[in-house]
Amino acid sequence: MSLSKRIIKETQRLAEDAVPGISAVPHDDNLRYFDVTIDGPSQSPYEGGVFKAELFLPDDYPMTPPKIRFLTRIYHPNIDRLGRICLDVLKSNWSPALQIRTILLSIQALLGAPNPDDPLANDVAQAWKQDEQAAIQTAREWTEKHAKP
């Protein structure tokens, strides 16, 4: 399967013009499969953590969104225990004018702004709503435990 010009260009730009706090490196043997790291945003309970994720560009990308999943465990109401992410631009609000870079930035922004009203991990969202401070503390502990490089 040949790689589209778009994927080649996106990959080049990700390498040449990297976004601070975000990296995405394709596998040598599968250029549609990327190892991703996202730094926890400052002022959030994820600050100081480096979160690993995997990103895959499906065959009809960019008509359909990239598939992305956290590999590092993270305590967040919109990310479940399998690392799946609840984010509109990864699903119904995807547009081919978006790209890997913008998607990763959106995910980083999601870490900075958890949305317990649209939960994927119900237990976490519950905890978040009942006692936000305690939930944030748990998120901080998880970051310490799982996401320290």
């Binding site: 010009k5 065959d59 009809d60 008509m63 081919p96």
Partner: protein
């Protein structure tokens, strides 16, 4: 002007066709370089200020969004149609391009020294003698001495408002203070070319399609003013009907069939970047082909289709919309294969999610619905076996090998062998066991091919007399009368109308002998008859 060699096309656009290039940047209405260009539904472009104001539309009630109930009469004489105000939007790409071009022009104007050219505006016929105006002296064109080579000088003249859209320009040399005339000629040409390179770079920056990241090919502009390759926009419309950039509802037929391209942008890119576009077209040809060029058959994984028989499809999945479009642009053929429901290994292919034998279909009727779905009527033209497969833009493509019946002589040999062999066996069997019916396989083998067909046809006729619902008039209308005289095709017809599961019918696709197929059909009939007893 015809360019013989691609290498001189570059220079010719800059030096020999400055008028052509500048005209593409001029508003056909006010003749000045575009200022806030608006893309019109008819495909052309005018300045926003040159657009007449919107007026309420009469006799229109659908769709009745407020901006569609206002209309703008197209100011261009070639069109003159009433455009919905909602569809006359700032052409974002063209606007950016104009900004960049003007910036380049002004940067360029500074360092050029004394490089004069005389430009004489040659008015077009209709401009010099305007109908309906008072009898006047025929108007004369403007005349200027301007610097910086022909291209910049021509653009400058347009900026000054002294070059009408339809006018031509006559250039002549003017002695400059520091150069000989022949040196001057050379100097100007290099000025033009250097300037054109700048323009090309400017164009390259803003005319990349945001879907494919290539230079726009057949640029097509949405009602919201965003431009994409026609192909890219069409593919986006397979998935949703909103603009990828601003998410506005686009209300276009998904095929974009009747939507004009952005003519200005298209001609500009043709003139400025012919090489890039040629490369792009060449690349596209390979891109749309499967990566491996032998995987040349698109495969639709859906249902059972049979040779010579019609197949009706409702195409709604984005990937298959794309596949159908490509088929319609190509040889109108695609392979139909069934799902592998049991997950059984498929020969050399392993446990694929589809079965390895299929039917090649040719589209006979393709009815595209407004929302991009389509109804397809296709007819089976042959059978195949998949040798290898891959993916292309979400659908399966394969390298297939034709499956054909053996030669007639081989067919006859088989009939001879089977019937005579089992006839002998049957004689001996009946002599020994006069009261026991022949084993089914022996009875089947002993029947001549014609008798097999006659048996099947008798069944069909009996069932029709008994008004079997699967042989109703409607069904016969769709699939035709049974091919009563063609034992090779009869089984396909029969399989089409008979309500049994598709996996059973699939066996027909693997056969290479007419007898084999008829024997399969006969076993179905016997089973049905036994059930009815």
């Amino acid at each position: 002007m015809v360019d013989d060699e691609p290498s001189i096309r570059f220079a010719s656009a800059a030096h020999r066709q400055p008028r052509l290039l500048v005209r593409l940047l001029q508003c056909p209405q006010c003749s000045k370089p575009f200022n806030a260009p608006v893309h019109l539904p008819c495909g052309d472009t005018v300045c926003r200020a040159c657009l007449p104001s919107a007026r309420p539309r009469t006799h229109v009630s659908y769709p009745n969004t407020p901006d569609r109930l206002q209309s703008i009469v197209c100011p261009l004489p070639a069109c003159g149609a009433e455009h919905a105000a909602a569809e006359c939007c700032l052409d974002v790409t063209m606007n950016k391009l104009m900004e960049l071009i003007e910036l380049e022009m002004s940067k360029y104007r500074l360092p050029i020294g004394d490089t004069p050219t005389r430009l004489i505006e040659k008015l077009a016929q209709e401009d010099s003698t305007k109908v309906g105006e008072k009898e006047m002296e025929p108007e004369l064109g403007h005349e200027r001495v301007l610097h910086g080579g022909r291209l910049l000088a021509t653009f400058t003249m347009a900026q000054m408002g002294e070059l009408r859209y339809n006018s031509e320009v006559e250039y002549s040399s003017v002695q400059s203070s520091n150069l000989q005339l022949d040196e001057q000629q050379y100097e100007y040409e290099s000025l033009d070319i250097a300037f054109l390179v700048q323009l090309q770079e400017a164009a390259g920056e803003v005319t990349n399609c945001l879907v494919c990241y290539n230079m726009m090919l057949d640029p097509t502009t949405t009602a919201c003013g965003h431009t994409f390759c026609r192909r890219c926009l069409t593919r986006v419309m397979d998935h949703s009907n909103i603009c990828p950039l601003c998410r506005r509802d686009l209300h276009v037929p998904a095929s974009l069939q009747n939507k004009p391209s952005n003519r200005r942008l298209s001609s500009l890119l043709d003139l400025l970047c012919p090489e890039i576009l040629a490369d792009r077209l060449a690349a596209l040809k390979t891109e749309e082909q499967p990566g491996n060029e032998t995987l040349d058959t698109p495969l639709f994984v859906c249902t059972l289709a049979l040779p010579t028989m019609p197949t009706f499809l409702h195409v709604f999945e984005p990937r298959y919309r794309l596949m159908m479009r490509r088929c319609m642009d190509g040889n109108k053929r695609f392979g139909m294969v069934m799902y592998n429901r049991t997950g059984a290994p498929q020969g050399n292919l392993g446990p694929t999610h589809f079965l390895e034998y299929g039917t090649m279909l040719e589209i006979v009727n393709h009815e595209l619905l407004r929302d991009g779905r389509s109804f397809v009527e296709a007819r089976g033209v042959g059978r195949f076996k998949i040798q290898d497969h891959g993916m292309l833009d979400g659908y399966i493509v394969g390298r297939v090998e034709k499956v054909e019946d053996v030669s007639l002589s081989e067919e006859q040999d088989a009939e001879q062998g089977e019937t005579s062999g089992s006839h002998e066996y049957a004689t001996r069997f009946l002599a020994a066991n006069p009261d026991i019916p022949l084993p089914f396989g022996v009875a089947l083998d002993s029947m001549p091919t014609q008798e097999l067909l006659d048996f099947c046809m008798r069944f069909v006729n009996d069932m029709r007399r008994a008004s079997a619902p699967w042989l109703s008039q409607k069904i016969v209308q769709v699939y035709g009368e049974p091919p009563a005289n063609d034992p090779a095709l009869f089984p396909y017809w029969f399989a089409c109308v008979l309500p049994i599961n598709e996996e059973e019918k699939y066996r027909l696709l693997q056969t290479t002998r007419v007898r084999e197929r008829l024997k399969i059909v006969k076993t179905w009939i016997e089973r049905i008859q036994n059930q009815r007893r």
